[in-house]
Symmetry: C3
Subunit: 249 residues, 3 copies
């Protein structure tokens, strides 16, 4: 049984995890982290192709609730971050309204963020006497450089959807009412390319962040050789020769 | 006694180091590097909370003066760069007019740069037959990517405040006459958040540049647990529960 | 003798390698990779100072042709990528029209890209069931961050010259008819600075991508000491003292 604050639903090949605690601005209860971790693992080993994480109602999430057992809490947060980072299957964050604290970095760790124009994004930690968590201090410098990281993390500046676009943090920013339309467009785009390509590239690119160029080129060589022999690689070659659109399974 | 080209002053909780050699465009004498290194260490171990580095008059600094003893010079430059990079306490560069050579990278290594609209920034090295120093060749690719780094370092292009903003290298660019006002705003912002958060995040984020995500997440876990028990973490939680602004010491 | 699809010419101190297979949109035959690798090595050890890679006619290149011997193909692609990445001498890509697949990442590995306003850039791999190669999955996150990398690589989005400029991937985008004028301007700029500085910085900056800041600062120290004693460093100092433009050899 799934703890009710994290509501799971499946539609076609997409799993939706909806943070459902709207009266508390979708803040995450201590139990939620473990539930989400289990859900991530279930998605990775399951048959669905896409995972969408979103918030119920008008806010994405305001991050972790206070807990008296901080050791357990941080262990669960860290564990979820490691799990999310390790997924080879794609993850999309749909962001609207408040996105605060650990929730910001949870979304940044997803492959694509679609946000509404009513998004308000705050790395709130410095205003709570805490430090940036959920891997944000590792990821942000690699997304927006060290100078922008300082502004976001050290000053805990609030930024809006326009600034998120300028910083290159979101895939697209749309009107609040268009967010599901845009999600469908993105999933349609993702369905048009090879799913094996997506997963293999995601894995390879993340590995590359921690390797030398030379070691990476050897890895790339091996992954590409397997891709050539995968049904998608064969269909890619066939469709190219036959001058038609590929039909990946 | 402080060598007079580097003038130190303290106002409230801010240390100011002013490069004071205006008739030589605030270029740095061979002795200045060691003096600044000592000052950085004194700041790190002292009671003041913020360090501001600026130039006297209309220019920030035109970098290192020529020296006959290049071995000593480079040893001192390298030593200052390592020291500045190792500081956990925040450093702000106030930039106006010419900022050239090693001075550019000294400023880039600071956490925040406020520049005036009359700033002229040049990684001059290639025009002197030298290579980019003070860590600039390591830092620039992590700030603006490799392509922009090539333009700045290999071509020694001069760029102005508008381009510095576009590249995301400065926190803010303001009218020359507003630079001190903007500094006060920034320090006010910094004073409003937890000082422990700032220093711990600064340390953690820099460490993260040289770690794998997984190792970083373990580090983050430990730092966050200590932050929860720090007076600022306790005040952060209390103020949140009591729905009031935190009053960090 | 050079395989005719890669046409080499030399003008003054510039080597031009022109991909010449226009009826096949300048796609690269299996033999071309080895030929280019040899040419890169010849350039690195030769007397010319600049290498320009371009396509014949209206397109840069559409990347690798299909091959039945994928093991050989990938070995040759990987070998060329390692060789191009290892060059200390500067390389410029002149890009027009279609630039697709491995050709995109070949160009991104060059130090400067000048593109025409008719450029169409596609990391096509996911549409062929393959993975991004020629080091693109390592380089792109370091050029444009992970979020933009996902859009380019996972979605195989086509982007134009305007977007290439916005992403900071190209040195300049110009009218198709001005591309050679702009190349001449760039080479003139490069000829005005120290060639030793360019090569030493290029080597040092790439090494820095795989080192800690502290180790890099030690490397920088050593490279700078040698630069001071190089004829260009001496001329740089002399010209500065004599208040004249340097005359680097």
């Amino acid at each position: 049984m799934i703890y009710m604050a994290i509501v799971k639903s499946i539609k076609e090949n997409v799993v939706y995890l909806t943070i459902t605690n709207p009266e508390k601005l979708n803040s995450l209860e201590p139990e939620d982290w473990g539930v989400m971790t289990s859900q991530l693992k279930e998605y990775e080993s399951g048959n669905e192709r896409f995972l969408v994480i979103r918030g119920d109602g008008d806010n994405f999430s305001t991050g972790a609730q206070l807990s008296t057992d901080t050791v357990s809490l941080m262990s669960d947060v860290t564990n979820m971050a490691k799990t999310l980072w390790s997924l080879n299957k794609p993850v999309i964050a749909l962001v609207d309204g408040l996105i605060v604290g650990a929730a910001t970095n949870l979304a940044l760790m997803c492959d694509f963020i679609i946000c509404s124009n009513e998004t308000k994004f705050i790395e709130i930690f410095a205003k709570r006497g805490l430090v940036i968590d959920f891997g944000g201090g590792w990821l942000l410098p690699r997304l927006v450089g060290l100078k922008n990281t300082n502004r976001l993390a050290l000053l805990a500046d609030s930024i809006d959807s326009k600034q998120l676009v300028e910083l290159g943090l979101v895939y697209k920013s749309v009107e609040k009412s268009d967010i599901d339309v845009e999600l469908n467009n993105l999933i349609k785009e993702l369905n048009a390319v090879s799913y094996n390509s997506i997963c293999q590239m995601k894995k390879m690119i993340r590995a590359g962040l921690e390797m030398s160029m030379d070691d990476y080129l050897d890895l790339e060589n091996n992954v590409q050789l397997k891709a050539f022999e995968h049904p998608d690689g064969i269909e890619g070659a066939m469709s190219f020769l036959e001058k038609r659109k590929p039909d990946f399974k």
